[in-house]
């Protein structure tokens, strides 16, 4: 065996303890349960999925539709139930498939709500469908009276480690940009707003603080995984994980994401740590008293299929965040190839979009609140792809309609849609975002470069 082969054997085929996967399954299931519960309690099902008249679907997924009215609660209830199934390892394959499909269905409904960590949850649920995380310490194991199989192929754990590593490293690479490193933006804006925090508050308005946070965050994201991988640096590295994510949780409205990372980075811990953790659970819940048996080599079936699938997945996960390289212009301004790339907390963008319906040089100024929720309007104002979708929707609303103003009756046949849009990015003075002379409803909604977006004018950054 060559060195490469043995390395490959080591990270893919070797039979290793299942314990880290079992911990992962339990913690991830619990967090997803809590996240779903929180989502329900905050009333977001209604504000995000029931109230909007119009949804910004993803390219190629316009066929995904919300359920009517209160039926929209159903997928969330399904999530709650199956999250518990996941925790207890009940009907594992079905459970993971249901969770993946349900969660992804909800996420695909409206890109207004896109968050990297929702995408991450979808990816992990997808991976769990193929990973045997319920062969041990699970209800499945009890009721189907299977033999405990304390071993899995190494790739099953390494794939999750790889996925987490990608999140951190791509997030770190994304921070290697001028605004982040040399203007400490957007952290400068976000930190100063938190001056009311006791004791350290006043420091958050110091420029130096923003720079230290920016550089530390960048170095942390780039290298933390490597320190987690080495057993000698792992305890300190994990301490950094906890502190880093707690700080972000305290300062920024990012929901459960910090807790997810704090919990699931334990997958980098040694199998022995996980065995101890599970043994402790067993003592607490007075379940199964068997210790995990010793590792042993076992050949994997369908090796070729596994390798192919793994390679495709890994290729996609590396290629998708890099697709932005295929587009010209400023990534943060144009947001072409921005989503699904682990670009977390990277920009502060705010905009104001005034849309016009025009017919024979006469205009109707649109009140966005007649068609969109505040959150949708807020997101649409800074994202060119959503502006196209909205323009097309408005065009539909007004085309071939008869409007009556006092005694005047006007028949709109095929009105045009224009917009005055101004956007500010990372503290720059706002500037015109799209060409106001272009009929947006006539632009194609696709993944090509959108040339009606005005280039970001860097000369206006004097302030």
């Amino acid at each position: 065996m060559t060195r490469a082969q043995s390395f490959f054997q080591n990270i893919v085929n070797r039979q290793v303890s299942i314990a880290p996967l079992v911990t992962f399954r339990i913690l991830f299931g619990l967090l997803l349960f809590l996240g779903t519960l929180r989502f329900l309690l905050k009333g977001w099902v209604e504000t995000l999925y029931i109230l909007p008249k119009f949804h910004f679907t993803y390219y190629g997924f316009s066929w995904i539709k919300p359920l009517p009215d209160s039926w929209m609660y159903l997928p969330f209830i399904v999530l709650l139930i199956f999250c518990l199934f996941l925790v207890f390892g009940f009907l594992y394959r079905i459970t993971t498939a249901v969770l993946f499909l349900t969660f992804t269905y909800i996420e695909l409904l409206d890109k207004t709500t896109y968050l990297n960590h929702y995408y991450f949850v979808s990816i992990v649920l997808f991976l769990l469908m193929f990973i045997s995380a319920a062969k041990y310490y699970s209800v499945d194991n009890l009721i189907f009276s299977r033999k405990t199989q304390p071993l899995v192929a190494a790739w099953e754990i390494n794939l999750l480690k790889f996925q987490i590593a990608l999140v951190y490293i791509f997030a770190g690479l994304a921070k290697l940009n001028y605004d982040w490193l040399f203007k400490a933006q957007p952290l400068k804006i976000w930190l100063q707003a938190n001056h009311n925090i006791p004791i350290v508050g006043s420091l958050l308005q110091q420029k130096e603080t923003a720079f230290i946070f920016s550089w530390f965050g960048c170095i942390y994201d780039l290298f933390i995984v490597f320190f987690l991988l080495k057993s000698s640096t792992r305890p300190i590295a994990y301490l950094f994980v906890v502190v880093f994510h707690l700080i972000t949780w305290l300062l920024f409205p990012i929901g459960l994401f910090p807790w997810i990372m704090i919990c699931i980075t334990t997958i980098y811990f040694s199998p022995i740590w996980h065995q101890k953790f599970l043994n402790r659970l067993k003592t607490i819940f007075k379940t199964d008293k068997n210790e995990l048996s010793v590792f042993q080599e076992k050949p994997v079936k369908n090796k070729k299929l596994v390798y192919t699938l793994l390679s495709v997945f890994i290729f996609l996960q590396i290629a998708i965040p890099l697709r932005y390289l295929a587009y010209p212009g400023n990534l943060y301004w144009n947001e072409e190839g921005f989503r699904f790339s682990w670009r977390v907390m990277l920009m502060h963008k705010q905009g104001n979009a005034t849309f016009y319906i025009e017919d024979k040089n006469r205009r109707i100024e649109i009140d966005n609140s007649d068609y969109l929720t505040e959150f949708q309007e807020d997101q649409m104002s800074t994202q060119a792809d959503m502006q196209i979708q909205y323009a097309k929707y408005l065009q539909q609303q007004f085309s071939d309609t008869i409007l009556k103003f006092n005694e005047t009756e006007i028949h709109l046949k095929n009105p045009k849609v224009y917009a005055d849009i101004f956007v500010t990015l990372n503290g720059r003075p706002s500037q015109r975002f799209i060409n106001e002379k272009i009929d947006l409803s006539q632009q194609n909604y696709n993944l090509k470069h959108r040339n009606w977006v005005m280039p970001l004018n860097e000369m206006k950054t004097t302030e």
């Binding site: 905050k42 977001w44 995000l48 709500t113 968050l115 990297n116 804006i189 976000w190 100063q192 707003a193 001056h195 009311n196 006043s202 420091l203 308005q205 110091q206 130096e208 603080t209 230290i212 550089w215 530390f216 170095i219 320190f227 000698s232 640096t233 300190i236 920024f252 409205p253 990012i254 929901g255 994401f257 977390v344 907390m345 502060h348 963008k349 705010q350 905009g351 104001n352 017919d359 006469r362 205009r363 109707i364 100024e365 009140d367 505040e374 959150f375 309007e377 807020d378 409007l403 103003f405 006092n406 005047t408 006007i410 101004f422 956007v423 500010t424 503290g427 003075p429 706002s430 302030e463």
Partner: protein
């Protein structure tokens, strides 16, 4: 070799963390004043803008009620005019209240109950004729408040109807009593709310500071759209819609629009104390601040230069009104995009996670 490299990396991380602590400490001692405290802004706004506006609105409503009592005793033309004048000053004073549609004002639904415009004269006539009405019901929202008096006091036979019809008099009385009652309630609720308000200087979408910025912006947009844009045809292909003027019959709409912008400017400046302007200057956004102040002045001057009433101006001075509209449209970008972005405040109430 490997061990030293590892050591160095760990050491570097510690240095960074240490550097954070040290630089923090140093700064704290050296520059204690280089900080903008949003709490001071909130205190100033509460004590020098909102509460005084509240008191003066309360007095103007009390005065309105006193004039009404006089009118009920001597329903003459002279007394009717006194009552109209009291209504005008109350309505001007209201422009300084409606900006703050959060906390007690929001909870009481005070904004919509006081000035939902234009009023629905058909509803008012029906109410008066039937004599049976629940003014607190949601259907009557545009048949009550200060706006309803545009019809009640300025319709063509207002004085004659007032003098001759008991139901008419009762309706005016009911509207004023409701207004007085709610004003008193909201005033005392705000007195109690002040402590909560000034403490809520955080970044959550529910913090008073976020609410203040959001409502300020929203009110400006409302002035731009509802008080000006809609009547001059901005949402109707350029077709003028005088029927959407805030108070068409009294020819008072232009004065209200101007006062609304004056009130917004005063809020922006925090009267003569700490306001949004000072926060922007602290954040090194001086030219944005200048642009916002200049824009307010241009709008106010532009409106002051129009000597006719609104409806006449819509035909005789359309370009003047349109210019003010365009100035205000630019201002929306300033105060809805650049300003909150500099503050790190999100323009949305919708509580949501970011990433």
């Amino acid at each position: 070799m490997l061990n030293t490299r590892k050591f160095k990396l760990i050491f570097a991380i510690f240095l960074l963390a240490g550097g954070l602590l040290i630089s923090c400490k140093k700064k704290k001692v050296e520059e204690p004043d280089a900080v903008f405290n949003k709490k001071e802004l909130l205190i100033n706004l509460a004590d020098n803008v909102i509460m005084p506006a509240m008191s003066s609105f309360q007095s103007s409503i009390v005065a309105l009620e006193i004039e009404l009592t006089s009118l009920e005793n001597t329903p003459t033309l002279g007394q009717f005019d006194n009552f109209k004048n009291a209504w005008k000053s109350a309505y001007l004073s209201w422009q300084h209240i409606k900006i703050f549609d959060f906390g007690p004002i929001k909870n009481a639904g005070f904004k919509s109950a006081t000035a939902t415009y234009p009023c629905d004269s058909v509803k008012i006539i029906n109410n008066i004729q039937s004599g049976a009405y629940n003014l607190s019901s949601i259907e009557n929202i545009d048949a009550i408040g200060l706006t309803s008096m545009d019809y009640l006091l300025y319709q063509n036979n207002a004085l004659a109807d007032y003098q001759s019809t008991t139901n008419y008099r009762l309706y005016v009385r009911a509207v004023v009593d409701k207004l007085l009652n709610e004003t008193n309630q909201v005033k005392s609720a705000w007195d109690a709310y002040r402590a909560t308000f000034v403490e809520s200087d955080g970044t959550a979408s529910t913090s008073a500071f976020s609410l203040l910025v959001n409502e300020f912006t929203r009110d400006f947009e409302l002035a731009k759209n509802a008080k000006l844009g809609i009547p001059i045809g901005k949402q109707s292909l350029g077709i003028l819609r005088p029927e959407y003027l805030e108070v068409r019959r009294s020819d008072f709409s232009l004065a209200l629009l101007k006062e609304s912008v004056v009130a917004l400017k005063n809020t922006y400046l925090g009267a003569s104390g700490k306001g949004f302007d000072d926060y922007l200057i602290f954040l090194e956004k001086t030219s944005l601040n200048q642009s916002i102040v200049g824009n307010f002045d241009q709008s106010i001057n532009g409106l002051a230069a129009i000597s006719t009433d609104f409806e006449t101006a819509m035909t005789t001075n359309f370009s003047d009104l349109n210019n003010v509209y365009l100035i205000m449209q630019n201002q929306v970008v300033n105060i809805k995009t650049d300003m909150p972005s500099a503050f790190g405040v999100l323009i949305t109430y919708q509580d949501n996670d970011g990433d």
